[in-house]
């Protein structure tokens, strides 16, 4: 696809520089929300959407061409599937008792610390991470698909 003026980066230097500074901070904040989902407000979906926000900021400030260099469709689809599979696997850990039985919390080797610490609450942190990965990759894929869909104009 030939590059029209609009599909490159028409943002100024200020926007690009501040985006370069802000994007890692948004990513770290999103990761914090995902990892502390069982302690504080928020969780997998909210954190994943925050990280996806960083991706959208990248898309807006650096343009579609730069985005296409860093975006791989099948990789992101596969990561989304892996997020779902990890969630399913965490849910199946306690199949001996029941589907979705929280075996890590009741008598697991880890993730059963005192409530309030990071390594507590059984499979909740694993599920939060899985959902965070899934939401992040999924939203990036959907929004990039929408942004890429401009072919009929050229």
């Amino acid at each position: 696809m030939t590059c029209r003026p609009r599909c490159g980066s028409d943002m100024g230097l200020i926007v690009k520089t501040s985006a370069r500074a802000i994007i890692p901070l948004i990513g770290i904040f999103g990761a914090y929300i995902v990892m502390h989902g069982h302690l504080t407000p928020g969780g997998g979906f909210q954190g994943g959407a925050t990280i996806a926000g960083a991706g959208i900021l990248f898309l807006v400030s650096f343009g579609l061409d730069e985005m296409k260099k860093h975006y791989n469709k099948s990789l992101y689809s596969a990561l989304e599937g892996i997020g779902g599979l990890v969630f399913l696997g965490a849910a199946m850990l306690g199949m001996g008792v029941a589907f979705f039985y929280n075996i890590l919390w009741h008598n697991g080797p880890f993730f059963n610390g005192k409530p309030g610490t990071l390594l507590s609450a059984g499979f909740l942190p694993i599920m939060n991470l899985a959902v965070g990965l899934k939401v992040f990759t999924g939203l990036i894929s959907a929004l990039t698909a929408i942004a890429l869909y401009r072919r009929w104009k050229s």
Binding site: H38, L39, E80, F87, N112, L124, L139, I146
Partner: protein, 98 residues
């Protein structure tokens, strides 16, 4: 004709919904009060037992991932479906490639 009927039914829906907003003969649950514990027995159970049974400090996360974890896997599937559908619909048309 069709349009008038639609608006009339709209008013009817509004009337019924406003009728059941009255606590005397409609939705008994107002904002709290003494009956909270008897009407919201399920919520109260989660608040009192959630910390011990699941171990998360955030009761909402406890519910989302443990008590109603099956709903959450459904939600994850909905997201997966919608994104697969959106990508499928936004793919190039047959014949666009040339």
């Amino acid at each position: 004709m069709k349009r008038t009927l639609a608006y009339l039914s709209l008013f009817f829906i509004l009337g019924v919904l406003l009728y059941i907003a009255n606590p005397n003969y409609g939705l008994v649950f107002g904002p709290g009060g003494k009956e909270w514990l008897s009407l919201r027995y399920t919520d109260n159970y989660y608040i009192t037992h959630g910390l011990k049974e699941v171990g998360g400090m955030n009761i909402v996360t406890d519910i989302v991932f443990d008590y109603r974890g099956y709903d959450t896997i459904g939600e994850a599937t909905v997201l997966f479906t919608a994104i697969a559908g959106a990508i499928a619909l936004l793919r190039p048309w047959r014949g666009d490639e040339s």
